[in-house]
Symmetry: C2
Subunit: 230 residues, 2 copies
DNA sequence: GCAAAAGTGTTTAAACTACACCCATGC
DNA sequence: GCATGGGTGTAGTTTAAACACTTTTGC
Protein backbone atom coordinates (compact mmCIF):
# COMPACT_ATOMS: atom_id res chain seq x y z
CA UNK A 1 0.00 0.00 0.00
CA UNK A 2 1.37 3.39 -0.98
CA UNK A 3 0.87 6.64 0.88
CA UNK A 4 -2.29 8.45 -0.11
CA UNK A 5 -1.31 11.74 -1.66
CA UNK A 6 -4.51 12.41 -3.50
CA UNK A 7 -7.85 12.97 -1.88
CA UNK A 8 -10.41 10.18 -1.83
CA UNK A 9 -13.61 10.78 -3.77
CA UNK A 10 -17.06 10.12 -2.34
CA UNK A 11 -20.66 10.72 -3.38
CA UNK A 12 -23.37 11.48 -0.82
CA UNK A 13 -27.07 12.29 -1.11
CA UNK A 14 -29.43 14.45 0.91
CA UNK A 15 -32.81 12.78 0.54
CA UNK A 16 -35.98 14.72 1.29
CA UNK A 17 -39.49 13.41 1.77
CA UNK A 18 -42.63 14.86 3.32
CA UNK A 19 -43.99 13.02 6.32
CA UNK A 20 -46.75 13.84 8.77
CA UNK A 21 -45.17 15.34 11.85
CA UNK A 22 -46.52 13.95 15.16
CA UNK A 23 -45.79 17.32 16.79
CA UNK A 24 -47.29 19.67 14.24
CA UNK A 25 -50.48 18.74 12.45
CA UNK A 26 -49.06 19.24 8.98
CA UNK A 27 -46.45 17.38 7.01
CA UNK A 28 -42.85 18.43 7.36
CA UNK A 29 -39.56 17.60 5.70
CA UNK A 30 -37.78 14.44 6.78
CA UNK A 31 -34.59 12.78 5.63
CA UNK A 32 -33.02 9.37 6.13
CA UNK A 33 -29.61 9.02 7.75
CA UNK A 34 -27.35 6.04 8.20
CA UNK A 35 -25.35 5.10 11.26
CA UNK A 36 -21.58 5.05 10.80
CA UNK A 37 -20.20 1.54 11.26
CA UNK A 38 -16.56 2.55 11.52
CA UNK A 39 -14.24 5.35 12.53
CA UNK A 40 -14.20 8.24 12.26
CA UNK A 41 -17.53 9.19 13.86
CA UNK A 42 -18.36 5.54 14.63
CA UNK A 43 -22.00 5.24 15.69
CA UNK A 44 -22.98 8.74 14.64
CA UNK A 45 -25.58 9.53 11.99
CA UNK A 46 -24.43 10.55 8.54
CA UNK A 47 -25.68 11.11 4.99
CA UNK A 48 -25.98 8.00 2.83
CA UNK A 49 -23.14 7.66 0.37
CA UNK A 50 -19.85 6.01 -0.37
CA UNK A 51 -16.94 5.79 -2.74
CA UNK A 52 -17.32 6.20 -6.48
CA UNK A 53 -17.11 2.98 -8.52
CA UNK A 54 -14.84 3.31 -11.54
CA UNK A 55 -17.50 3.22 -14.23
CA UNK A 56 -20.46 4.77 -12.49
CA UNK A 57 -21.88 8.23 -13.18
CA UNK A 58 -21.89 10.65 -10.26
CA UNK A 59 -25.67 10.94 -10.36
CA UNK A 60 -25.90 7.16 -10.66
CA UNK A 61 -23.88 6.71 -7.49
CA UNK A 62 -26.11 9.23 -5.72
CA UNK A 63 -29.27 7.41 -6.81
CA UNK A 64 -27.78 4.10 -5.78
CA UNK A 65 -26.98 5.38 -2.29
CA UNK A 66 -30.60 6.41 -2.05
CA UNK A 67 -31.91 3.07 -3.24
CA UNK A 68 -29.61 1.02 -1.06
CA UNK A 69 -30.43 2.84 2.16
CA UNK A 70 -34.13 3.50 1.72
CA UNK A 71 -35.26 1.11 -1.01
CA UNK A 72 -36.78 4.11 -2.79
CA UNK A 73 -36.39 5.69 -6.21
CA UNK A 74 -35.84 9.45 -6.46
CA UNK A 75 -38.36 11.50 -8.42
CA UNK A 76 -35.93 14.41 -8.51
CA UNK A 77 -32.14 14.37 -8.31
CA UNK A 78 -29.72 17.24 -8.72
CA UNK A 79 -26.12 17.96 -7.85
CA UNK A 80 -25.84 20.20 -4.80
CA UNK A 81 -22.19 21.08 -4.24
CA UNK A 82 -18.79 19.53 -3.88
CA UNK A 83 -17.23 19.77 -0.44
CA UNK A 84 -13.47 19.49 -0.29
CA UNK A 85 -12.10 21.26 2.76
CA UNK A 86 -8.84 19.42 3.59
CA UNK A 87 -9.82 19.20 7.27
CA UNK A 88 -13.43 18.06 6.88
CA UNK A 89 -12.58 14.40 7.48
CA UNK A 90 -10.28 13.48 10.38
CA UNK A 91 -9.13 10.19 8.88
CA UNK A 92 -7.66 11.59 5.65
CA UNK A 93 -8.86 13.92 2.99
CA UNK A 94 -12.19 13.19 1.32
CA UNK A 95 -13.77 15.23 -1.43
CA UNK A 96 -17.53 14.66 -1.46
CA UNK A 97 -19.76 15.34 -4.42
CA UNK A 98 -23.16 15.81 -2.82
CA UNK A 99 -26.52 15.41 -4.53
CA UNK A 100 -29.97 16.20 -3.23
CA UNK A 101 -33.05 14.15 -4.01
CA UNK A 102 -36.81 14.26 -3.55
CA UNK A 103 -38.92 11.14 -3.10
CA UNK A 104 -42.64 10.73 -3.34
CA UNK A 105 -44.43 11.08 -0.02
CA UNK A 106 -46.64 8.04 -0.42
CA UNK A 107 -43.70 5.89 -1.31
CA UNK A 108 -41.60 7.33 1.50
CA UNK A 109 -43.96 5.79 4.03
CA UNK A 110 -42.86 2.35 2.82
CA UNK A 111 -39.19 3.14 3.27
CA UNK A 112 -36.90 0.73 5.03
CA UNK A 113 -35.99 1.70 8.57
CA UNK A 114 -33.90 -0.32 10.99
CA UNK A 115 -31.14 -0.07 13.55
CA UNK A 116 -28.80 1.66 11.12
CA UNK A 117 -31.22 3.64 8.98
CA UNK A 118 -33.59 6.16 10.50
CA UNK A 119 -35.61 9.16 9.33
CA UNK A 120 -35.23 12.52 11.07
CA UNK A 121 -37.08 15.83 10.78
CA UNK A 122 -34.86 17.96 8.54
CA UNK A 123 -35.07 20.99 10.80
CA UNK A 124 -34.18 19.15 14.00
CA UNK A 125 -31.20 16.93 13.34
CA UNK A 126 -28.82 15.54 15.91
CA UNK A 127 -25.11 16.35 15.53
CA UNK A 128 -24.04 14.49 12.40
CA UNK A 129 -20.70 13.08 11.29
CA UNK A 130 -18.23 15.26 9.38
CA UNK A 131 -19.67 18.54 8.06
CA UNK A 132 -22.99 16.90 7.27
CA UNK A 133 -25.08 19.31 9.34
CA UNK A 134 -23.83 22.15 7.23
CA UNK A 135 -24.47 20.19 4.05
CA UNK A 136 -28.08 19.51 5.02
CA UNK A 137 -28.55 23.17 5.89
CA UNK A 138 -27.37 24.16 2.46
CA UNK A 139 -29.57 21.53 0.79
CA UNK A 140 -32.57 22.82 2.74
CA UNK A 141 -31.83 26.34 1.59
CA UNK A 142 -31.60 25.19 -2.01
CA UNK A 143 -34.84 23.23 -1.77
CA UNK A 144 -36.74 26.14 -0.24
CA UNK A 145 -35.32 28.63 -2.71
CA UNK A 146 -36.02 26.43 -5.69
CA UNK A 147 -39.58 25.54 -4.74
CA UNK A 148 -40.51 29.19 -5.17
CA UNK A 149 -39.40 29.58 -8.76
CA UNK A 150 -39.25 26.02 -10.06
CA UNK A 151 -41.71 23.17 -10.35
CA UNK A 152 -39.95 20.61 -8.21
CA UNK A 153 -42.82 20.35 -5.73
CA UNK A 154 -44.44 17.78 -8.01
CA UNK A 155 -41.70 15.35 -7.10
CA UNK A 156 -43.29 14.88 -3.68
CA UNK A 157 -46.60 13.87 -5.25
CA UNK A 158 -47.89 11.04 -7.41
CA UNK A 159 -48.90 11.10 -11.06
CA UNK A 160 -52.12 13.01 -10.48
CA UNK A 161 -52.90 15.41 -7.68
CA UNK A 162 -55.20 18.23 -6.63
CA UNK A 163 -54.04 21.81 -6.38
CA UNK A 164 -54.72 21.62 -2.66
CA UNK A 165 -52.21 18.78 -2.40
CA UNK A 166 -49.66 20.75 -4.40
CA UNK A 167 -50.27 23.76 -2.21
CA UNK A 168 -49.81 21.63 0.90
CA UNK A 169 -46.38 20.64 -0.42
CA UNK A 170 -45.40 24.26 -0.92
CA UNK A 171 -46.68 25.15 2.52
CA UNK A 172 -44.81 22.30 4.18
CA UNK A 173 -41.54 23.17 2.46
CA UNK A 174 -41.81 26.92 2.94
CA UNK A 175 -43.36 26.63 6.40
CA UNK A 176 -45.99 29.24 5.76
CA UNK A 177 -49.61 29.39 4.66
CA UNK A 178 -50.42 30.32 1.06
CA UNK A 179 -53.57 31.90 -0.27
CA UNK A 180 -55.49 29.14 -2.11
CA UNK A 181 -56.94 31.55 -4.67
CA UNK A 182 -53.65 33.16 -5.59
CA UNK A 183 -51.81 29.87 -5.53
CA UNK A 184 -54.27 28.42 -8.02
CA UNK A 185 -53.84 31.34 -10.40
CA UNK A 186 -50.06 31.30 -10.16
CA UNK A 187 -49.83 27.60 -10.92
CA UNK A 188 -52.42 27.65 -13.67
CA UNK A 189 -50.79 30.56 -15.48
CA UNK A 190 -47.36 28.92 -15.23
CA UNK A 191 -48.56 26.10 -17.45
CA UNK A 192 -46.81 23.48 -15.33
CA UNK A 193 -49.94 21.44 -14.70
CA UNK A 194 -52.68 20.07 -16.93
CA UNK A 195 -56.27 19.36 -15.97
CA UNK A 196 -56.97 15.64 -16.37
CA UNK A 197 -60.72 16.15 -16.41
CA UNK A 198 -61.01 13.75 -13.47
CA UNK A 199 -62.20 14.75 -10.02
CA UNK A 200 -61.90 13.36 -6.54
CA UNK A 201 -65.12 11.70 -5.41
CA UNK A 202 -66.45 11.05 -1.96
CA UNK A 203 -65.27 14.20 -0.26
CA UNK A 204 -67.71 16.12 1.92
CA UNK A 205 -67.36 19.24 -0.16
CA UNK A 206 -67.05 20.32 -3.79
CA UNK A 207 -65.00 17.65 -5.60
CA UNK A 208 -61.60 19.03 -6.58
CA UNK A 209 -60.10 18.63 -10.07
CA UNK A 210 -57.17 16.31 -10.58
CA UNK A 211 -54.14 17.61 -12.41
CA UNK A 212 -51.16 16.05 -14.09
CA UNK A 213 -47.63 17.35 -14.34
CA UNK A 214 -46.80 18.99 -17.68
CA UNK A 215 -43.38 17.73 -18.75
CA UNK A 216 -43.21 19.84 -21.90
CA UNK A 217 -42.31 22.99 -19.97
CA UNK A 218 -38.65 23.20 -19.07
CA UNK A 219 -36.49 26.36 -19.12
CA UNK A 220 -33.49 25.37 -17.04
CA UNK A 221 -29.78 25.20 -17.73
CA UNK A 222 -28.40 24.54 -21.23
CA UNK A 223 -27.36 21.09 -22.35
CA UNK A 224 -29.77 19.40 -19.96
CA UNK A 225 -27.10 19.75 -17.31
CA UNK A 226 -29.46 19.91 -14.39
CA UNK A 227 -31.25 18.11 -12.99
CA UNK A 228 -30.12 14.52 -13.45
CA UNK A 229 -33.64 13.28 -12.73
CA UNK A 230 -36.73 15.41 -12.71
CA UNK B 1 2.37 1.35 -10.20
CA UNK B 2 -1.02 -0.21 -9.47
CA UNK B 3 -4.05 -0.13 -11.72
CA UNK B 4 -6.12 2.97 -11.28
CA UNK B 5 -9.50 1.94 -10.00
CA UNK B 6 -10.57 5.25 -8.60
CA UNK B 7 -11.14 8.35 -10.67
CA UNK B 8 -8.52 11.08 -10.71
CA UNK B 9 -9.54 14.42 -9.26
CA UNK B 10 -8.90 17.73 -11.02
CA UNK B 11 -9.87 21.36 -10.51
CA UNK B 12 -10.46 23.71 -13.45
CA UNK B 13 -11.52 27.33 -13.74
CA UNK B 14 -13.56 29.27 -16.27
CA UNK B 15 -12.15 32.81 -16.11
CA UNK B 16 -14.18 35.71 -17.47
CA UNK B 17 -13.04 39.24 -18.22
CA UNK B 18 -14.49 42.05 -20.28
CA UNK B 19 -12.36 43.21 -23.19
CA UNK B 20 -13.04 45.61 -26.04
CA UNK B 21 -14.01 43.59 -29.07
CA UNK B 22 -12.34 44.67 -32.32
CA UNK B 23 -15.42 43.49 -34.22
CA UNK B 24 -18.17 45.04 -32.16
CA UNK B 25 -17.74 48.48 -30.70
CA UNK B 26 -18.54 47.44 -27.15
CA UNK B 27 -16.77 45.22 -24.67
CA UNK B 28 -17.52 41.53 -24.72
CA UNK B 29 -16.70 38.53 -22.59
CA UNK B 30 -13.32 36.90 -23.06
CA UNK B 31 -11.62 34.01 -21.34
CA UNK B 32 -8.09 32.64 -21.25
CA UNK B 33 -7.32 29.11 -22.39
CA UNK B 34 -4.16 27.05 -22.20
CA UNK B 35 -2.74 24.78 -24.85
CA UNK B 36 -2.50 21.10 -23.93
CA UNK B 37 1.12 19.96 -23.80
CA UNK B 38 0.37 16.23 -23.71
CA UNK B 39 -2.13 13.60 -24.74
CA UNK B 40 -5.04 13.39 -24.83
CA UNK B 41 -5.98 16.42 -26.93
CA UNK B 42 -2.31 17.42 -27.36
CA UNK B 43 -2.09 20.93 -28.82
CA UNK B 44 -5.77 21.78 -28.32
CA UNK B 45 -7.04 24.58 -26.13
CA UNK B 46 -8.43 23.76 -22.69
CA UNK B 47 -9.51 25.35 -19.42
CA UNK B 48 -6.73 26.15 -16.96
CA UNK B 49 -6.50 23.65 -14.16
CA UNK B 50 -4.77 20.60 -12.82
CA UNK B 51 -4.67 18.00 -10.11
CA UNK B 52 -5.58 18.77 -6.53
CA UNK B 53 -2.62 19.04 -4.12
CA UNK B 54 -3.20 17.11 -0.90
CA UNK B 55 -3.57 20.06 1.45
CA UNK B 56 -5.09 22.68 -0.83
CA UNK B 57 -8.67 23.90 -0.72
CA UNK B 58 -10.73 23.38 -3.88
CA UNK B 59 -11.25 27.13 -4.27
CA UNK B 60 -7.56 27.67 -3.59
CA UNK B 61 -6.59 25.34 -6.40
CA UNK B 62 -9.00 27.15 -8.71
CA UNK B 63 -7.54 30.54 -7.81
CA UNK B 64 -4.02 29.20 -8.26
CA UNK B 65 -4.81 27.91 -11.76
CA UNK B 66 -6.04 31.39 -12.56
CA UNK B 67 -2.95 33.08 -11.13
CA UNK B 68 -0.51 30.71 -12.77
CA UNK B 69 -1.95 31.01 -16.24
CA UNK B 70 -2.90 34.68 -16.34
CA UNK B 71 -0.93 36.31 -13.52
CA UNK B 72 -4.23 37.77 -12.30
CA UNK B 73 -6.21 37.64 -9.06
CA UNK B 74 -9.93 36.86 -9.17
CA UNK B 75 -12.37 39.41 -7.79
CA UNK B 76 -15.09 36.79 -7.76
CA UNK B 77 -14.79 33.03 -7.49
CA UNK B 78 -17.54 30.46 -7.12
CA UNK B 79 -17.93 26.76 -7.63
CA UNK B 80 -19.75 25.95 -10.87
CA UNK B 81 -20.32 22.22 -11.06
CA UNK B 82 -18.55 18.91 -10.81
CA UNK B 83 -18.26 16.95 -14.04
CA UNK B 84 -17.75 13.24 -13.68
CA UNK B 85 -19.03 11.39 -16.73
CA UNK B 86 -16.91 8.20 -16.92
CA UNK B 87 -16.28 8.78 -20.65
CA UNK B 88 -15.40 12.46 -20.58
CA UNK B 89 -11.65 11.85 -20.65
CA UNK B 90 -10.23 9.30 -23.12
CA UNK B 91 -7.10 8.59 -21.09
CA UNK B 92 -8.80 7.40 -17.91
CA UNK B 93 -11.54 8.72 -15.71
CA UNK B 94 -11.20 12.26 -14.38
CA UNK B 95 -13.67 13.98 -12.10
CA UNK B 96 -13.33 17.76 -12.48
CA UNK B 97 -14.51 20.26 -9.92
CA UNK B 98 -14.99 23.40 -11.98
CA UNK B 99 -15.01 26.97 -10.66
CA UNK B 100 -15.85 30.17 -12.45
CA UNK B 101 -14.09 33.46 -11.83
CA UNK B 102 -14.39 37.12 -12.73
CA UNK B 103 -11.37 39.39 -13.06
CA UNK B 104 -11.26 43.15 -13.23
CA UNK B 105 -11.29 44.52 -16.76
CA UNK B 106 -8.47 47.00 -16.25
CA UNK B 107 -6.26 44.32 -14.79
CA UNK B 108 -7.21 41.83 -17.48
CA UNK B 109 -5.49 44.00 -20.07
CA UNK B 110 -2.18 43.30 -18.32
CA UNK B 111 -2.67 39.55 -18.42
CA UNK B 112 0.08 37.26 -19.60
CA UNK B 113 -0.36 35.88 -23.09
CA UNK B 114 2.07 33.68 -24.98
CA UNK B 115 2.33 30.65 -27.21
CA UNK B 116 0.45 28.48 -24.74
CA UNK B 117 -1.94 30.97 -23.17
CA UNK B 118 -4.39 32.96 -25.24
CA UNK B 119 -7.63 34.85 -24.69
CA UNK B 120 -10.72 34.03 -26.75
CA UNK B 121 -14.15 35.64 -27.09
CA UNK B 122 -16.40 33.54 -24.86
CA UNK B 123 -19.13 33.26 -27.48
CA UNK B 124 -16.84 32.14 -30.30
CA UNK B 125 -14.55 29.43 -29.02
CA UNK B 126 -12.69 26.88 -31.08
CA UNK B 127 -13.33 23.20 -30.34
CA UNK B 128 -11.82 22.63 -26.92
CA UNK B 129 -10.35 19.57 -25.26
CA UNK B 130 -12.60 17.17 -23.33
CA UNK B 131 -16.10 18.49 -22.59
CA UNK B 132 -14.78 22.00 -22.02
CA UNK B 133 -17.04 23.67 -24.61
CA UNK B 134 -20.04 22.43 -22.71
CA UNK B 135 -18.56 23.59 -19.43
CA UNK B 136 -17.98 27.10 -20.75
CA UNK B 137 -21.51 27.18 -22.10
CA UNK B 138 -22.85 26.33 -18.68
CA UNK B 139 -20.60 28.91 -17.01
CA UNK B 140 -21.82 31.57 -19.43
CA UNK B 141 -25.39 30.67 -18.65
CA UNK B 142 -24.70 30.95 -14.91
CA UNK B 143 -22.94 34.28 -15.32
CA UNK B 144 -25.75 35.76 -17.40
CA UNK B 145 -28.44 34.44 -15.09
CA UNK B 146 -26.68 35.62 -11.97
CA UNK B 147 -25.90 39.12 -13.23
CA UNK B 148 -29.62 39.81 -13.35
CA UNK B 149 -30.39 39.08 -9.72
CA UNK B 150 -27.04 39.33 -7.99
CA UNK B 151 -24.40 42.02 -7.66
CA UNK B 152 -21.47 40.25 -9.27
CA UNK B 153 -21.09 42.84 -12.04
CA UNK B 154 -18.95 44.89 -9.65
CA UNK B 155 -16.23 42.28 -9.95
CA UNK B 156 -15.44 43.52 -13.45
CA UNK B 157 -14.87 47.06 -12.18
CA UNK B 158 -12.42 48.82 -9.87
CA UNK B 159 -13.02 50.23 -6.40
CA UNK B 160 -15.07 53.18 -7.59
CA UNK B 161 -17.15 53.44 -10.72
CA UNK B 162 -19.97 55.36 -12.35
CA UNK B 163 -23.40 53.90 -12.89
CA UNK B 164 -22.78 54.16 -16.63
CA UNK B 165 -19.76 51.89 -16.25
CA UNK B 166 -21.78 49.42 -14.20
CA UNK B 167 -24.52 49.55 -16.78
CA UNK B 168 -22.00 48.92 -19.55
CA UNK B 169 -20.95 45.76 -17.73
CA UNK B 170 -24.51 44.54 -17.54
CA UNK B 171 -25.04 45.35 -21.20
CA UNK B 172 -21.87 43.55 -22.27
CA UNK B 173 -22.75 40.44 -20.29
CA UNK B 174 -26.42 40.35 -21.24
CA UNK B 175 -25.79 41.53 -24.81
CA UNK B 176 -28.65 44.00 -24.81
CA UNK B 177 -29.17 47.68 -24.16
CA UNK B 178 -30.61 48.77 -20.82
CA UNK B 179 -32.58 51.91 -20.06
CA UNK B 180 -30.23 54.25 -18.14
CA UNK B 181 -33.04 55.75 -16.08
CA UNK B 182 -34.53 52.45 -14.97
CA UNK B 183 -31.11 50.92 -14.42
CA UNK B 184 -30.21 53.75 -12.07
CA UNK B 185 -33.36 53.33 -10.03
CA UNK B 186 -33.02 49.56 -9.81
CA UNK B 187 -29.42 49.74 -8.60
CA UNK B 188 -30.01 52.61 -6.20
CA UNK B 189 -33.00 50.95 -4.58
CA UNK B 190 -31.11 47.68 -4.19
CA UNK B 191 -28.67 49.35 -1.83
CA UNK B 192 -25.70 47.59 -3.37
CA UNK B 193 -23.80 50.78 -4.15
CA UNK B 194 -22.92 53.86 -2.11
CA UNK B 195 -22.35 57.37 -3.42
CA UNK B 196 -18.75 58.41 -2.66
CA UNK B 197 -19.55 62.10 -3.13
CA UNK B 198 -16.84 62.27 -5.78
CA UNK B 199 -17.48 62.96 -9.43
CA UNK B 200 -15.63 62.40 -12.67
CA UNK B 201 -14.09 65.63 -13.97
CA UNK B 202 -13.11 66.60 -17.50
CA UNK B 203 -15.96 64.94 -19.35
CA UNK B 204 -17.76 66.95 -22.07
CA UNK B 205 -21.07 66.56 -20.31
CA UNK B 206 -22.56 66.57 -16.85
CA UNK B 207 -20.00 64.98 -14.49
CA UNK B 208 -21.24 61.59 -13.25
CA UNK B 209 -21.16 60.56 -9.61
CA UNK B 210 -18.72 57.91 -8.46
CA UNK B 211 -20.02 55.00 -6.45
CA UNK B 212 -18.49 52.38 -4.25
CA UNK B 213 -19.57 48.82 -3.72
CA UNK B 214 -21.56 48.22 -0.53
CA UNK B 215 -20.19 45.08 1.10
CA UNK B 216 -22.67 45.11 3.97
CA UNK B 217 -25.49 43.74 1.80
CA UNK B 218 -25.35 40.02 1.34
CA UNK B 219 -28.35 37.65 1.29
CA UNK B 220 -26.93 34.54 -0.35
CA UNK B 221 -26.59 30.97 0.82
CA UNK B 222 -26.27 30.06 4.51
CA UNK B 223 -22.92 29.40 6.11
CA UNK B 224 -21.12 31.68 3.66
CA UNK B 225 -20.97 28.68 1.36
CA UNK B 226 -20.90 30.67 -1.83
CA UNK B 227 -19.02 32.42 -3.23
CA UNK B 228 -15.46 31.62 -2.21
CA UNK B 229 -14.35 35.12 -3.19
CA UNK B 230 -16.65 38.04 -3.79
C1' DG C 1 -25.31 77.96 -28.18
C1' DC C 2 -24.68 72.99 -29.17
C1' DA C 3 -23.71 68.17 -28.28
C1' DA C 4 -23.70 64.57 -25.05
C1' DA C 5 -24.38 62.04 -21.23
C1' DA C 6 -26.26 62.53 -16.24
C1' DG C 7 -30.12 62.44 -13.79
C1' DT C 8 -35.50 63.20 -12.73
C1' DG C 9 -40.47 62.71 -13.57
C1' DT C 10 -44.52 60.57 -15.41
C1' DT C 11 -47.45 57.32 -17.57
C1' DT C 12 -48.85 52.67 -18.44
C1' DA C 13 -48.99 47.89 -17.96
C1' DA C 14 -48.17 43.83 -15.60
C1' DA C 15 -47.67 41.12 -11.33
C1' DC C 16 -48.66 40.27 -6.70
C1' DT C 17 -51.71 40.49 -2.39
C1' DA C 18 -55.70 40.42 0.32
C1' DC C 19 -60.09 39.15 0.88
C1' DA C 20 -65.09 38.91 -0.31
C1' DC C 21 -68.07 35.71 -2.21
C1' DC C 22 -70.30 31.86 -4.74
C1' DC C 23 -70.20 26.56 -5.78
C1' DA C 24 -70.74 21.59 -4.99
C1' DT C 25 -70.64 17.93 -2.16
C1' DG C 26 -71.60 14.64 2.34
C1' DC C 27 -74.06 14.40 6.21
C1' DG D 1 -79.96 23.04 6.08
C1' DC D 2 -75.07 23.23 7.52
C1' DA D 3 -70.11 22.65 7.36
C1' DT D 4 -66.16 22.38 4.40
C1' DG D 5 -63.01 23.02 1.15
C1' DG D 6 -63.13 24.13 -4.21
C1' DG D 7 -63.11 27.75 -7.15
C1' DT D 8 -64.04 32.84 -9.08
C1' DG D 9 -64.11 37.97 -8.85
C1' DT D 10 -62.17 42.19 -7.76
C1' DA D 11 -59.93 46.16 -5.63
C1' DG D 12 -55.48 47.93 -3.89
C1' DT D 13 -50.59 47.74 -3.96
C1' DT D 14 -46.17 47.02 -5.76
C1' DT D 15 -42.97 46.37 -9.53
C1' DA D 16 -41.26 47.05 -14.00
C1' DA D 17 -40.95 49.10 -18.54
C1' DA D 18 -41.10 53.08 -21.84
C1' DC D 19 -40.01 57.54 -22.73
C1' DA D 20 -40.32 62.69 -22.26
C1' DC D 21 -37.80 66.08 -20.14
C1' DT D 22 -34.41 68.81 -17.34
C1' DT D 23 -29.41 69.43 -15.75
C1' DT D 24 -24.45 70.16 -16.23
C1' DT D 25 -20.41 70.00 -18.34
C1' DG D 26 -16.63 70.95 -22.66
C1' DC D 27 -16.07 73.14 -26.68
Amino acid sequence: MNTQLEAALAVSTVIFALRPDPEAGLSTLWLPLVRRTREPYLGQWALPGGGLPADEELAGAAARALRETTGLTPKYLEQLYTFGDPARSPGGRVVSVVYWALVESGEAALAVEDENVRWFPADHLPPLAFDHNRIVEYALWRLRTKVEYSRIAHAFLGEIFTLAQLRAVHEAVLQKALDPANFRRTIESSGTVVDTGQRVAGVPHRPPRLYRYNDSVHATAPGALEPAIG
